[in-house]
Symmetry: C2
Subunit: 341 residues, 2 copies
């Protein structure tokens, strides 16, 4: 938990995010020097090479490796589901968390396929956040405490973190945050979510517009947007991303909901997500727009929009392979092979 | 090897490719039925779901799994390198094959990362094919025998095959094949290859134009294109793809050179590549055009253009995860969870 002399949690978070570690450019230089010696023409490995440089920059390691990758799923419930913006009842969040524990979800199988750790952060599922059309989602203390709890995802010597979400109704919450942070019209930020029809989408946009409207004038501080319009899982993800930065653990972001957590930090400081890789672009059309707005290129585009960290975990498989390739390849000198000549 | 009463090898291959196995639609139906019962809203797993259906169709299996995936690299040398179309000397092909054996190449590391088998088919490296600006690359018998040799990639109970190439000068050969098969201008089919400059690209296009021109009028049969303009590794890859079809082993195709082998079969019969998945789109701009022309969507777009099967092997990691996810997930009934209501 966060304690400072001021006793104001949001101040603590603001000061954390204004004093962030930068990339280790010396380590990146070493990676680049090795890259051109590897037994292949330099540059031909495309984003695989960029990924290794990114790992080096944030690990602060000249020969980055991934030995303890973790997928963290943050699960929360939302009062706004009272507005009938989701086609599933709130208890499905509980049931899916039970399914993660039982090993029956998509993310369990992907974690087995790529040998990734998996941890579920269950965020007071029996206490949904306030219905944002009627009240604040959270008070400041709850929001800051939830962010601090999310920071605990970065423990145990993990060297790569993927963040994903589970929470019935949370694409509505994500859209409300994006609208609250970046303006525009509510409908600009609304995707179909999980199984919503056209009429449902219009209703969702209307609910979001109402929620943002009632907070108009108080949305300058991105942390205010988060606590007024957000959800516990989104606050926790924002905390996890900050903790990754502080502890040199790069973060792979999943779909639209996880992106809304990153967006809160981006709105505070665009460099706050330099240590983040967007694992995939979701089939939610608004996700692509959000990434473009933040100037980020996703790694995968597989038409997925399942959440649970599945897109980020798929990308983790690629990041692991990229690191192994750079680390394990022979150099021209090792192999006594003709270099470009 | 191929034997038939006619004694004409290309006739054999034509008859193989005119009598190809189709997809197992009953198996696909079973996969679709299970898909909607899995503990996630149906359709939200995007291309992962398509991949499982594709595996079912070509395995003929209701619950497809990948237990023996193989990456096959086909290596050949080319007389056309006498025309100085490549920035590396021909012996680099030998050296890279030695590097594959020693475990020092990029593809070795990717295979370790995803637990894939790796086999290198070395195709008479000391006997480069004819310089296509002056003579035929191969005679008919050599071409057919090389295709038959390539068919041996599909043995030993493998259940997924990725095909890749190694061969100094073979992007020139691939471009000549594409130009020979599909017309247009030579420069339409020329990419920079591995480390070529603008002047080099123009020279490459001129070499290809000359090679195709001297065969004008004899390019109606795609197998004639292959033997006149092709390379041994490309003929062997075409054979491997055919064998995959006959033995219900789906094939993941790597970059531009592997695509030129597929294109030979496509020109004979567009359905010949229904059992093929294009693992990635290479950073060679012409690769994207070739895939669009054949109506195929690549799985990955990582800016890679290294060859060696690296793009196909990266895709194999995803295909393995897709199969495992479908197979291992719980159904709503398993978990007693509320379905969409």
């Amino acid at each position: 938990m966060l304690h400072t002399p001021t006793g104001l949690p949001f101040d603590d978070i603001h000061s954390l995010s204004s004093d962030m570690l930068g990339p280790d450019t010396a380590a990146v230089k070493v990676v680049r020097e090795r890259e051109v010696q590897l037994m292949k023409p330099a540059g031909l490995f495309g984003r695989m090479e960029e990924i290794v440089e990114w790992l080096a920059a944030w690990h602060g390691a000249e020969r980055p490796n991934i030995t303890r990758p973790l997928v963290a799923i943050f699960a929360g419930n939302h009062g706004v589901t009272d507005q009938k913006i989701a086609p599933f009842p709130r208890e499905v969040t509980h049931q899916m968390v039970a399914n993660f524990a039982a090993g029956g979800a998509a993310i369990n199988q992907i974690c087995i396929a790529y040998d990734l750790g998996l941890k579920v952060f269950e965020l007071a599922l029996d206490m949904p956040t306030g219905d944002i059309t009627l009240e604040y989602a959270m008070d400041e203390k709850t929001c800051a405490a939830t962010m601090a709890y999310g920071m605990e995802a970065v423990v145990g010597g993990i060297d790569l973190l993927a963040i994903g979400d589970m929470g019935i109704g949370n694409t509505t919450i994500a859209a409300a945050i994006m609208h609250g942070l970046f303006g525009g019209e509510a409908r600009d930020w609304v995707g179909p979510g999980t199984g919503m029809y056209a009429a449902g989408v219009a209703h969702k946009a209307e609910v979001i517009a109402r929620a943002v409207e009632r907070n108009a004038g108080s949305l300058k501080d991105p942390l205010e947007v988060l606590r007024r319009l957000g959800g516990r899982e989104i606050a926790a993800m924002a905390g996890a991303i900050l903790a990754g930065r502080m502890q040199r653990v790069p973060v792979i972001v999943d779909g639209y909901v996880a992106t809304s957590a990153v967006a809160v930090l981006y709105a505070m400081d665009p460099s706050a997500l330099d240590h983040c890789l967007f694992g995939h672009v979701s089939a939610e059309p608004v996700h692509r727009c959000a990434l473009e707005m933040m100037g980020k290129r996703p790694l995968l585009d597989l038409g997925m929009r399942l959440g649970e960290g599945t897109g980020a975990a798929m990308a983790m498989g690629i990041v692991k392979a990229a690191a192994r390739t750079h680390d394990g390849m022979a150099t021209f000198a090792d192999a006594g092979v003709s270099d470009n000549g």
